[in-house]
Symmetry: C2
Subunit: 574 residues, 2 copies
């Protein structure tokens, strides 16, 4: 699909960007959710915000994930002063192990918990690599002011669905960018509603980069208070065990459940690879403090009465190897479901996972009388705000320009509309594509450059980075649809006759045992094609014979089955 | 996944079903949406309700759709007195062309529009087959009383998202089933709120089969009035053309838009194969009457000013070949998008299509300033009710037993809960699996039989019915994930030596041109494997050699790439 930016509001013709402009280059996160990464560039200094991964679409079989394309940075490695991470979700840190290595391990700046997660991911990717990292840990009071050449960084608190989430202020001599990271309008650590009025006092022009996943959500947000009331009532009243599935990075929620269990004398077991890993980090850093009498090993759950047991686990999205899927498939070593268990999905549905989650729920409802999810009761607070929140924060910050970010294009467009609704000048709201470069300076209208940075997909499949391209993917799609059919013909060099019967190997096309007639007809046709070509007596054109087999047998299959398997002829002369 | 029904409330041990029980056998529609089909059996009479198709899940690549398994009816063809269709959606009539043929064209009973759709589908499937059909058309007053052996049929109005939707009463000498079809609580044709109180007066015991897709929807329903107010305002105020995408079977909505356009002097063009087909039928049957001055050919839209044009089309689910996808991809012959076009999604999102629809919206938002969908404004009324509706109708009908139907298992379980909430006896609500047989008679507790009817998937892929099974599907999944790798080795019969270099054909695994090293290593390993086996001098075990190639090269690939392509060795002796 061609992507065109409407540049009609820009005085592009009149002005040229110069070396003293502040450039923002989103390498991902403007057209989809995931692989979030933005480059901020002023003369000889570059700061990068986030390095996320994107999960593959349905038409990308076999792909593990997609990382941002860093071609733009190829010749600018020396300019890179630091990579800053807003928070520890995979769509913000997931590509760090690969990209930090490729960029020669630049300085990393973030909060303590986020850095710990990144280091852990790096060690999983390449043993020993975390020790190569230089880091600056932003302290809880966020008082750090970091100068990186002509760029300066400041930080502010944001509320999101994982701890240690921050917003970032990137100041250049000519303009100031405010990046919210992922956020919702919540409370600060001392329980006061977060306010962003102080951001209205930064040096102008200011550019507000505002994550806009809430731009079509006109529902009132579930409050933490309501959620906790519901969750605690369920914990109090459950007739048997309680299994709470949530995202592994929901440290605050896990902490609160642990604290409440401790208060009322229930035991908590935590299960799931990523959740145990995160719990370990959170305990080590002091984010979670809980007595041994409360946190028990999953192997010990049968040592207590069922109504004393709370299990917190992964698997809300129906991931096949996560705990909840293993439990429902009776593949979990320690948790066998009982009718009296209560299961909570303290989570939202990530778009694309709807049917997988439906079938997970079907399985759970078969085995349990009490399955509770957000459709039934408010037991989850989203990490993203709604329309009102986006409007409210824009009003507070009073930026000169707004760039909605970190969502599908249509959310960004809707964000533009709702920000326009509160009287913000439409021409000062920019909806960019991945790779579009926007230039700001003190006095002039921002300029979007004609040339985009390269943002082609970089696929990760197994150990290899970027070696799966369009051709491999197209073949996989074709193989998935109708399978494949290999025909091996051995031809006598002397006589031009087919020796024996052609060998056939087929997978994913038809059930061979029940298709004997079809195979017989196919062999006969293949022999005919070869003999027709070799009978003429002249030099034999083998590639013509292969094409003929591909085309003629392809047509034959389509007429008989209306399927188009990939046909692969092998002709061997002996 | 094992599926167990909780039979603890049934006196199964004490009683045996006898030939004088009324049996209900749902062959589909109890575990998923689609392939809805239910068998009603009393002694020597069988009536079937609906024959729908189900769309494939993600792990069923290449499958067109799934039809109900009719093994249960194999030996009972003579008992089948009729097939009744509740309405014309594909999950209720889609399998009719195939299954009616397989069952020897039994009598078909439905409303006029539904029968016309079925006949059309039959002709598309097999030319001339519609003329073999014996039908009874239920007239609009629904006064028909049809006797089929000892079974009797009556009909009643239901409101749903297509016209001519009916509910069915199937009476046997011992019990009466009330089947709502798909429904919402709407108005009858004269604008009065539909009431089902009259159904409370049928012969007891009555069994209410209630479609329960609304069982987790606690939101108030959008009213037709609000929807029309919004749609008409948009039609009035649109600056340019209006493109309304909706489901092709939404005849009432299409009719109303046509009427309104006629009233205000706008022109309407209708596009999309299924929508034009349905329009043609609806016009022929008199459901739509519209003047030639209003309904224009899509090829003529440029003959009028843009603000006089309304286009109604298909493609709300992002189906790649439907009109909306073609428009957004610039592949439509007559509609090129303009910034000033207004696009309405008068539709809901069918679970599983979320990401496809997101990317369709992304494309539309790029090209148009006005894209409106239900997240933005209420411009669609669902054909399914909510929690309140299910409770209200159960209260009105006062059945003896309730079977929630036509939804995923977890909706059925939630329906049970909400019906229990209004004081209905829990033991009289049955949640069945596909194929579970329940027996009713005048006086005893219903019995669910131990043996289930066969409901294994019957896949349709191209022209063939049911020939794609688990093996073919598993191969397709495997091919999709990591591709395949064919190795052809020609071995000299005399010497046991490999002749030349092994041939390699690979698709979907790695990009071959950039993997020369890997291929070279692979060839070397294959030759070594063959020589190791043939060097020993004894009889050569060729199948051992193939296994060795498969295993050793498989391991080699996994270590190098962490991928597991399907490895297919071909060994040719010459």
């Amino acid at each position: 699909m061609t992507k065109q930016y409407n540049t009609e509001s820009l005085d592009e013709g009149k002005k040229r960007f110069t070396s003293s402009t502040f450039r923002i280059i989103p390498l991902g996160g403007q057209e989809e959710v995931g692989r979030n990464m933005t480059v901020f560039e002023y003369e000889n200094d570059i700061v990068i915000v986030d390095m996320g991964i994107q999960f593959p679409e349905e038409d990308m079989p076999g792909i593990d994930y997609i990382i941002p394309n860093i071609n733009y940075l190829k010749d600018k490695l020396k300019k890179i002063k630091a990579v800053v991470f807003t928070h520890g979700h995979l769509d913000h840190i997931g590509a760090a192990p690969i990209l930090l290595e490729k960029l020669g391990y630049p300085l990393v700046i973030s909060r303590e918990f986020t850095i710990a997660l990144i280091k852990r991911k790096m060690e999983e990717y390449k043993k020993g690599s975390a020790s190569r990292l230089k880091t600056i840990q932003i302290k809880p009071n966020l008082k750090e002011k970091i100068s990186l050449g002509q760029l300066k960084l400041d930080f502010f608190d944001v509320e999101h669905s994982t701890i240690d989430s921050v917003g970032i202020i990137i100041s250049s001599p000519v303009a100031t960018a405010i990046h919210m990271g992922d956020w919702t309008l919540g409370m600060d650590s001392s329980g006061r509603k977060l306010s962003y009025n102080f951001l209205s006092k930064l040096n102008k022009p200011t550019i507000l980069m505002i994550e806009s996943l809430g731009a079509v959500n006109r529902q009132p947000l579930v409050t933490e208070k309501d959620m906790w009331k519901n969750i605690k009532t369920i914990i109090d009243e459950a007739p048997g065990r309680i299994i709470i599935a949530t995202f592994s990075t929901q440290v605050k929620r896990i902490r609160e459940i642990l604290n409440y269990a401790q208060e009322i004398g229930k035991k908590v077991a935590i299960d799931g690879y990523s959740m145990r890993m995160i719990l370990e980090i959170a305990k080590k850093l002091g984010y979670i403090r809980v007595g041994k009498e409360t946190l028990i090993d999953i192997r010990k759950i049968d040592d207590y009465p069922p109504n004393k047991i709370v299990i917190i686990c992964t698997g809300t999205q129906g991931e096949p190897k996560a705990v909840l899927s293993r439990i429902v498939a009776d593949n979990h070593n320690y948790v066998k479901l009982r009718k009296t268990d209560t299961i909570l999905f303290s989570s939202s549905i990530i778009p694309g996972n709807e049917r997988t989650i439906q079938s997970l729920k079907d399985g759970l409802y078969r085995k349990c009388d009490n399955v509770i999810h957000n459709e039934i009761m408010n037991i989850h607070v989203s990490g993203h705000t709604n329309v009102e929140g986006i409007q409210e924060v824009t009003r507070q910050i009073k930026p000169t320009y707004v760039l909605p970010v970190y969502a599908n294009h249509y959310f960004l467009k809707e964000a533009k509309k709702i920000i326009k609704e509160i009287g913000f000048p439409e021409n000062n709201i920019f909806v960019l594509d991945n790779g579009q470069i926007i230039n700001f300076n003190k006095t002039n209208t921002p300029i979007i450059e004609k040339e985009k940075a390269d943002t082609n997909y970089i696929f990760i499949d197994g150990l290899r980075i970027g070696d799966v391209g369009e051709i491999v993917l197209r073949d996989r799609q074709m193989l998935a649809k109708d399978g494949m059919f290999v025909i091996v013909v051995v031809v006598d060099k002397q006589t031009g006759k087919v020796k024996g019967s052609p060998d056939i190997i087929s997978r994913g096309f038809v059930y061979l045992r029940e298709s004997k007639e079809l195979l017989k007809d196919t062999r006969k046709r293949v022999v005919e094609i070869v003999h027709r070509a070799t009978d003429s007596g002249g030099a034999v054109n083998w590639s013509y014979i292969k094409d003929e087999i591909r085309n003629k047998i392809g047509q034959f299959f389509y007429i008989r089955t209306q399927r188009r398997p990939m046909i692969l002829p092998v002709v061997i002369e002996v």
